[in-house]
Amino acid sequence: MQGYEYFAKIHELAGCANSSSKPNADFVDIGFDTVLQARFDLKKGTEVLTKYSFR
């Protein structure tokens, strides 16, 4: 199972951040944690999108 639905399921499990070619947030490692950091100023109601690389 390597289709789109497979990756969509991963997004859901990853904590509700979805993948996009135009991300507005990035994962950054800080100590034992990984944070999701805003790439731009974002307005209320914006969906968080992160660029995942599927390897």
Partner: protein
């Protein structure tokens, strides 16, 4: 004409986590730019705007560039287990949501039943999630 119903998990329910503060501790040698106590904005989760993507994470207040939105705790696993999992799934399976949905007390305006069903729908948000995948 018969119309199919959307899956229950794509209902329009919204789950909300209040704004809160958390402490970040960088490792030795890491930039201290994001160290100390940071404020996480109020966030909501409901159906994504991306087709078939399941739930989406939505900002419920204005956010500045560089602001931290959510914090995940990486899980320590053996190298052998990591290699096994890396063959099957993307690396971000190794993190779990630390602040947003781990504690029931953070969810507002939902009945206990909704909280329970939400957790069941998103098993990946549990601490030991990857072991069950």
């Amino acid at each position: 004409m018969r119309q199919s119903r959307p899956p229950v998990r794509f209902s329009q329910e919204e789950f909300v986590a209040k704004a809160q503060k958390t402490e970040l501790c960088p490792s030795e040698g890491q930039s201290t730019k994001n160290s100390g106590i940071v404020r996480l904005p109020e966030m909501g989760v409901h159906q994504s705007r991306i087709p078939k993507a399941g739930f989406g994470l939505f900002i419920r207040e204005e956010v500045r560039k560089g602001q931290i939105l959510t914090v995940y705790r990486r899980k320590i696993i053996s190298e052998k287990k990591a290699k096994e999992l890396k063959k099957k799934v993307a690396p971000f399976y190794f993190i779990h949501h630390l602040h947003l949905f781990c504690a029931d007390s953070l969810l507002e305006g939902q009945s206990p039943h909704s909280r329970k069903s939400f957790k069941m729908l998103l098993p990946g948000l549990r601490a030991n999630s990857y072991a069950r995948l």
